[in-house]
Amino acid sequence: MILVLVGVSLIVFAIMMLIPEGQRVAIYVTGEKIRNEQIDSLIVKYGLRDPAPVQYFRWIKNIFKGDFGHSITASAPVIEGFKMYFPVTLELVLYSTPLIILVGIWLGTIGAVHKDKPIDHFTRIFAIVGYSLPTFWLGLMLMMFFYGLLGIFPPGTISIVGKDILYNPEYHQYTRILTIDAILNGNWRMFWDAIYHLTLPTINLVLLSSALIMRLMRSSMIDALGQDYIRTAMAKGADKKTIYNTHARRNALIPVITISGLMFAGLMGGMVITETIFARKGIGLWMARAATQLDVAAIMFNVLFLGVVFVVINLIVDLIYAWVDPRIRLT
């Protein structure tokens, strides 16, 4: 695991080394304008012409100190930018992932149980449509329909009224996750405003990503229902509900867990499009901007961060695996 992280950091560093030193200076310089003749002295000052290993270890040392450099797009140190953007993304991921998994598992189970019946065909059509629609297209369509045509759901992270509440000195931002903060402050108006703004992007993500989970769940559930142990359960006199919920589903969940973990991590990275369309100021939007403006520090940090997310999610997936499937337990 640690090896994976070292590998990620090496790759990130290698990418950084491809960029000319003149641009890389930007990582270290905060705010003030630099004149051209200053650049050379700054390059020397931050040791950007030192041998690569020396630079790498210096960079790693800075990371451990919590110093990731200065982001141009956030016009603040990277870590400050992260604190600002990350909660927005995390909120969306936190709301959509459980929904994606629940909807996917639920529809998949229904499809498998009523195999080749109309309801199964319906879920399959849902899956094919959901899986083949591009994110940006569906996002734009949802926006056009619900915001442009009907005016029901808004884009963005928060309304103007919400902003007033947010910057009110009496309102404390504990976690910077809007809905949780609203509950902690007991401010229901803010809470509903945040939920209101979350609806469209969540629908967008759920429609697209639950299709995959659903397909997987359906096929692995059908596979599980054809196994011999289902026959044993039937011969015991178990009713249908027990057979589906106790005997088949747990076996069927094993492959779904793997994909769910990867999907959760993928969602964090795949936010670029969704957040850009719905104008939510999250990591995805930040990354998109950083990439277009060559904000090296922000890009490096985010790639490293996604690497960490993947590693942690994989660890969690392994733990859940062991809990569901006794064959994987070590003891």
């Binding site: 142990y229 015991k236 006199g237 178990a238 569901v324 006794p326 064959r327």
Partner: protein, 430 residues
Amino acid sequence: MEKLVEAEELRTNFYTFEGVVKALNGVSLVVNNGETYGLVGESGCGKSVSVRSMMRIVQAPGKIEEGKVVLFFNEKDRNKGIDILKRSEAYMQSIRGNDISMIFQEAGTALNPVLSIGFQVGESFLLHRRGEMIKLAVKTLDKKIDENSNSLFRMWRKFHKRLLQNETDDLERYKTEIVKIDSDLYRTEGKTDSKSLEKHKRLLVNRERLNKQGLKVRLQLKTPIIRRYVRRINAAVREKVIELLTDLGVPNPGNIVDRYPHELSGGMQQRIVISIALACNPTLLIADEPTSNLDVTIQAQILDLIRQLKKTQISSVLFITHDLGVVAEICDRVTVMYAGDTCETASVKDLFKEPMHPYTKGLLKSVPKGEIGEKLQTIPGTVPNLITPPSGCRFHPRCPDVMEICKSQKPEMLMMKDGHSVACHLYRKK
């Protein structure tokens, strides 16, 4: 001899992509009370499918097309019997595992890999003997109430006792309702006038709908914290499972109950499968090739176990195998099957002494006798494809004594002498 189960003209098809597999072509067999009945044939001849049809657990894409499976279990329906193919699914669930249960081949795949042994064996108790289990739980709870003087614990335990009592009351109510519907069903069954038919249909629907638990019990089972009283039932079940495993000669049962199937050896897995089937003392035990895929020594142990259980616990065994040696060892009466047809039924002695059907003769000739350098005889040809089975007698393309009539007409079961019948045109009275 009293009949226990009778299958009449069972026809089961499998609707596969390649076509309709006509797996059973009118199989009839009778298992009498107190006998070990063998079902023999090569693989794919429909042995397993016929017993699965008898228990109504044919998995998709299979479907039981027609026929009758009549049970003569209770005193009440000794004369008439119950046709279980016409009964509701709920009724079947109350019979499976309770009156008829089944041992499967390949215990490794017949056990659920993600559930503990204790759960899988105990499930039978929970499904059919929940009342008794609750009684056991109440008993241990009573003891604890007496012992402990701490008033808080006392209150908690008394509360649990109350909840358990709720469940018992509910089960009683359910039982009386079920008995009523079943007796009504029994009365309307077989009548052909439209009024009775309608009533029968309605009763079937009611039987299916009958909720196993009332609202109160469902609530107490679903509410967190309150539902913790279920652990007391589970503890009682665990005790029962350990008892059962000890009876079956499983070493170290207290440890085994917390294990998972993959941690056990093949023989041990087969014992667990047997214990699942025996949990509720069934009247009929169906053993579907319980000894295939096991070493010879383990095979002998399992056969011994079944023979012993036959003496002590269960009245009849329906034993499926392709091994004629096992048949000779364990069975009283045998039916030989070929490609979804029953060929010959006889007592074991008769079958081995004077086989009548050409297929049985061929089968007996192809058993190795254990002589060195012996050349095995085989039956020429191969098992037919059951999507397009041969016309008439399904054995005719391979039969040494084939006649013209065999190709067009399916032979009927002919009673040759007491207890020995054969389905072959050779023995037709001219």
